[in-house]
C-alpha cells in the first residue's frame, strides 16, 4: 500500500495539468466553471484541443489514439481535466461508440470512423432508449428491414442528449422480430442527414432543450453501417453500457462545484453551522467516492469493469444531486431573484434549474434502480 504518487506519476500529473490550463481555450473553461451550457462549437473545439495533445481518447486501443496508461493515470487525467474546468471528451464519441467500433467494427469501419470520432469531426448521438423501452432496453421496437443493400429503419428513439448537434447516431434496432428479445437486436450507425430522419427537441423542466426525440420514417441505411453481425447488437450494447458506467462518477466536477459554493457562500456559511456541516459531510462523501474510484480502477482487468463500478454511478449521481441541492439552499431567497447584480447572484439564480436538471442524473445512463439491481444480483448474488 502506498499513499504518494510515484515521481513519474507526479510528473505526468503536472504535464496534463499544464496542458489543460494552457491548451484549452479560457472562454470554454470559464463557461464550465460557471455551470453554463456549452455550444456545439465549444464542445468540438475543446475535444480537438485535447485530441491534438493525445488527451481525448487515451483509453482506446493504442493503434487508434490510445495511450496504454495505467488506471491510476486515467484517473489523474480525468480528475485534472475536471479540476481545470475542461469539458470531458464527448461521451458519445470517446466512451461509447469509439470503443465499440474499436472492439467490434470492421477494419473499414475503424478507419472510416475512429479518427473522425476522436477528433469530433463526427459529433455522435446515442439512439438506444425508446418511449416504451427505458430501463427495459431489450423491449425496443424500432425496426430495420433489409431491402437490397440497405436497411430501412422505422421507429422512434428518445432521450437523445444533444441530438440537435448530432452528425451521426448509433442505434439499437430490431432486425429480427422472430427470435428472443435480445437476440433480434443489431447496432446500426446512421447519418443524421438521411432522408426521413427527424430530430424533435424535448423541453426539460429547467427550460432547456438538451434532449430530443429522433424519428425514423423509412430511413435507408447502407448495410455496411452495421457494427458486427446482425443480431449481435445486445452484446455491443452491454459492452458500451459497462464502459459508460466506469467514467461516469463526476467526482471532479462535483468537487469543483462544492469548492465554488464554499467560496461564494462564505458569508452565509460562516453564520450557519448546519450548512457548514452539510458541506463537511459532502466533502467527506466525495473523498470516499474518489478513493473508491481509485481503488476500483486499480482492480479492473482486461477491459471488464470492476463490478463495484455500479457504486460509482449510484453514489456519484447521488452526491452530484446533493451538492446541487446545497447550492440552492445557499442561494436561499436568490432562488426567486433576477440574477442581476453580479456573478454570484447569477450563479445562485441558475442553481435551481441546475438542481432540477440534475434529477436526470439518477435516471439516465442506467437508472440508480438498475445500478442497485446490478449490485444486488451481480455482486451480492441475491
Amino acid at each position: 500500500m502506498q499513499l504518494a504518487l510515484s515521481e513519474e506519476d507526479q510528473k505526468f500529473r503536472e504535464e496534463v495539468r499544464t496542458y489543460f490550463t494552457t491548451e484549452v481555450p479560457q472562454d470554454i473553461r470559464t463557461a464550465v466553471e460557471e455551470g453554463r451550457e456549452l455550444s456545439k462549437d465549444q464542445i468540438v473545439e475543446s475535444m480537438r484541443a485535447l485530441n491534438r495533445g493525445g488527451l481525448a481518447v487515451p483509453h482506446w486501443p493504442e493503434e487508434w489514439g490510445g495511450r496504454g496508461w495505467s488506471e491510476l493515470r486515467r484517473h489523474i487525467w480525468h480528475e485534472e481535466m475536471q479540476a481545470a474546468c475542461v469539458p470531458v471528451p464527448l461521451a458519445f464519441n470517446a466512451s461509447m461508440i469509439g470503443p465499440v467500433i474499436a472492439q467490434f467494427g470492421s477494419q473499414e469501419q475503424k478507419e472510416r470512423f475512429l479518427p473522425a470520432t476522436a477528433n469530433c469531426d463526427i459529433f455522435w448521438s446515442q439512439g438506444f432508449s425508446e418511449p416504451d423501452a427505458g430501463s427495459d432496453l431489450a423491449s425496443l421496437r424500432t425496426t430495420a428491414v433489409l431491402d437490397g443493400d440497405d436497411y430501412v429503419v422505422n421507429g422512434q428513439k428518445t432521450w437523445t442528449t444533444l441530438g440537435q448537434y448530432g452528425d451521426w447516431i448509433f442505434t439499437l434496432v430490431r432486425t429480427n422480430p422472430d427470435v428472443k428479445k435480445q437476440a433480434g437486436i443489431s447496432m446500426l450507425l446512421i447519418d443524421m442527414r438521411s432522408e426521413g430522419l427527424e430530430v424533435r427537441p424535448i423541453e426539460l423542466i429547467d427550460g432547456g432543450h438538451e434532449v430530443n426525440e429522433v424519428w425514423f420514417d423509412n430511413v435507408r441505411v447502407p448495410a455496411e453501417n452495421m457494427v458486427g453481425e446482425p443480431g449481435s447488437g445486445w452484446t455491443q450494447a452491454k459492452f458500451l453500457l459497462g464502459n459508460e458506467r466506469v467514467g461516469v462518477a463526476p467526482v471532479g466536477a462535483t468537487k469543483r462545484v462544492l469548492a465554488r459554493a464554499k467560496e461564494i457562500g462564505a458569508e452565509v456559511l460562516a453564520d450557519d453551522p448546519l450548512l457548514r456541516a452539510r458541506v463537511a459531510e459532502l466533502e467527506n462523501e466525495l473523498l470516499a467516492l474518489e478513493l473508491t474510484a481509485l481503488r476500483v480502477a486499480a482492480h479492473s482487468a482486461g477491459g471488464e469493469p470492476h463490478p463495484a463500478s455500479s457504486v460509482l454511478k449510484l453514489r456519484g449521481t447521488e452526491l452530484q444531486q446533493a451538492v446541487s441541492e446545497l447550492v440552492v439552499d445557499l442561494a436561499g431567497p436568490a432562488v426567486l431573484g433576477s440574477g442581476d447584480g453580479g456573478d454570484d447572484l447569477d450563479w445562485y439564480r441558475r442553481s435551481t434549474p441546475i438542481y432540477l436538471n440534475l434529477r436526470k442524473a439518477s435516471i439516465y445512463g442506467g437508472s440508480n434502480e438498475v445500478q442497485r439491481q446490478i449490485i444486488s444480483r451481480g455482486i451480492l448474488g441475491l
Binding site: 427505458g134 431567497p333 436568490a334 426567486l336 435551481t352 432540477l356 436538471n357
Partner: protein, 381 residues
C-alpha cells in the same frame, strides 16, 4: 380539536376545485397560461374575484368576505393541486395581508376593495438582492418625506401589479411600509422575469419614488411584517400540500400503468415501498398543515410564529422527499416540461425558498428549544 371541514368549507373547496381545477384540468392549459406575460389567466382571476375568493380574508367593511384562515387555506390548497399560476399567495395573502394588518381604514377600503373585486393586483416588494429572509428592510430606504430609493427583488408578480406595497428602512430606525401606485408606479423601473416554476417575479428599482405611508407614518411595523410572513408561510404550506397530493396521486397512477420488463411498475416492491414512504410524508405534512392553519385562527402571535416555523420545516423536508421521488419514480418523462410532475417539483422548490427553507426554520426553532420541555398540541387554552 377537530380536523374536519364544516359544510360551507366543503362547499368552498368543491366550488374552487370546480373553477380552478377545471381551468387547469389539462397540463397544456397551465403551460399556455405561463407562456406569456403576465404569466396567469386574467379571465380566471376575474372569475375568482366574482366567486369572492380574492376578498376571502378581508372584512366586509374593507370590501371583503370576512372569512377565516381555514377558508383561505382551502383555496391555496386547491391552487396548489393544479399548480395554478394566479397570484393568490403573493397578492391576496401576502401583500393584501399587510394592507389589512397595517393600513388605515381608508387605505384598506380602497386597496383591498380593488383587490377583492379583481380590479387591481397587489404585490409586496420586500426582499433585497443578496440578503437572507428577514422581516426588515435594509437597502431600500425611505426619506422623511416618504421618497423611496433602492432595489427590491423576487417581487411576486411585481411587473404586473397595479399597487406595490413596499418595505423600507426608516430614517428614524425600523422598517416602514409604503404604497406605490398610479403615476408614481409608472416612474418605477420594473423588470419582470420568470421563476424556475414558470411563475413571475420582478426586480423593482426606486429612485426617489414618491410613496404613501401605509398606516401611521414613521411607525416601525417590523412585527406586523413578521406576522404576515408567518401567515403567508402557513398558506404557502397549504399550497405545497396540494402540490404533494397531486404528485403522489400521479406517481401511484404511473406505477400502476407504466410497463417495464413486461410488467407494470407496481410489480417492483422497491418502488411501491418508496411510494408508501411518500404517502407517510404526505400524511404527516397534512396533519401539521391543518394544525398550523388552526393556529392562525386561534390568533396568538407567538404561537403563530412557532407554527409557521414548524410547518415550513415539515413542508421543506416532505416537499423535497416527495418532489424528488416523484421525478425518480417517473423516470425520463419526470424531467420534461411536457409532463407535469417536474414543474410541480420546481414549484415546491420555489415555495421552499420563498420565506426561508427548512434549515432557516430549524435555526428559528433552535432559539426556543430550551423554553419548554415537550410540545403539547392540545395545550392552547
Amino acid at each position: 380539536m377537530d380536523f374536519s371541514y364544516d359544510d360551507e368549507q366543503t362547499a368552498l373547496r368543491d366550488a374552487t376545485r370546480g373553477l380552478v381545477g377545471k381551468a387547469y384540468a389539462d397540463w397544456e392549459s397551465r403551460r399556455r397560461a405561463v407562456a406569456d406575460d403576465p404569466g396567469f389567466d386574467e379571465k380566471l382571476w376575474t372569475q375568482m374575484a366574482e366567486m369572492g375568493l380574492l376578498g376571502l380574508p378581508f372584512s366586509e367593511d374593507d370590501g371583503g368576505v370576512g372569512a377565516g384562515p381555514v377558508e383561505v387555506a382551502i383555496v391555496c390548497r386547491e391552487l396548489g393541486r393544479v399548480l395554478a399560476p394566479e397570484p393568490y399567495l403573493g397578492s391576496v395573502v401576502y401583500a393584501g395581508g399587510l394592507v389589512a394588518a397595517v393600513g388605515t381604514p381608508e387605505q384598506r377600503q380602497e386597496v383591498l376593495g380593488g383587490l377583492a373585486s379583481g380590479e387591481s393586483v397587489l404585490a409586496f416588494a420586500h426582499d433585497e438582492p443578496g440578503r437572507r429572509t428577514s422581516a426588515s428592510a435594509h437597502d431600500v430606504t425611505a426619506s422623511a418625506e416618504g421618497a423611496l430609493t433602492g432595489t427590491k427583488e423576487g417581487v411576486l408578480h411585481g411587473a404586473r401589479a397595479d399597487v406595490l406595497v413596499v418595505s423600507a428602512a426608516l430614517e428614524g430606525g425600523g422598517t416602514g411600509l409604503f404604497l406605490v401606485s398610479g403615476d408614481a408606479l409608472a416612474g418605477v423601473q420594473r423588470e419582470g422575469y420568470s421563476l424556475p416554476d414558470g411563475g413571475r417575479a420582478a426586480r423593482v428599482t426606486f429612485d426617489g419614488t414618491a410613496a404613501t405611508p401605509l398606516g401611521e407614518a414613521g411607525a416601525d411595523v417590523t412585527s406586523s411584517i413578521a406576522r404576515v410572513q408567518d401567515l403567508t408561510r402557513i398558506m404557502a404550506a397549504n399550497e405545497a400540500l396540494g402540490v404533494m397530493q397531486t404528485q403522489l396521486a400521479a406517481t401511484v397512477g404511473y406505477l400502476k400503468s407504466r410497463k417495464q420488463f413486461g410488467v407494470t411498475l407496481n410489480t417492483f416492491q422497491a418502488l411501491t415501498f418508496r411510494a408508501a414512504d411518500m404517502y407517510t410524508s404526505q400524511e404527516l405534512t397534512h396533519s401539521l398543515v391543518d394544525w398550523a392553519t388552526m393556529v392562525v385562527e386561534a390568533g396568538d402571535p407567538d404561537a403563530l410564529a412557532d407554527a409557521a416555523a414548524r410547518v415550513s420545516l415539515q413542508v421543506s423536508r416532505a416537499g423535497r422527499h416527495i418532489g424528488q421521488e416523484t421525478i425518480q419514480l417517473h423516470g425520463g418523462i419526470g424531467v420534461t416540461a411536457e409532463y407535469n410532475v417536474g414543474t410541480f417539483t420546481s414549484h415546491l422548490t420555489v415555495l421552499d425558498h420563498l420565506l426561508g427553507d427548512g434549515g432557516h426554520q430549524l435555526r428559528a426553532l433552535d432559539q426556543r428549544l430550551t423554553s419548554y420541555a415537550a410540545i403539547d398540541p392540545l395545550d392552547v387554552a
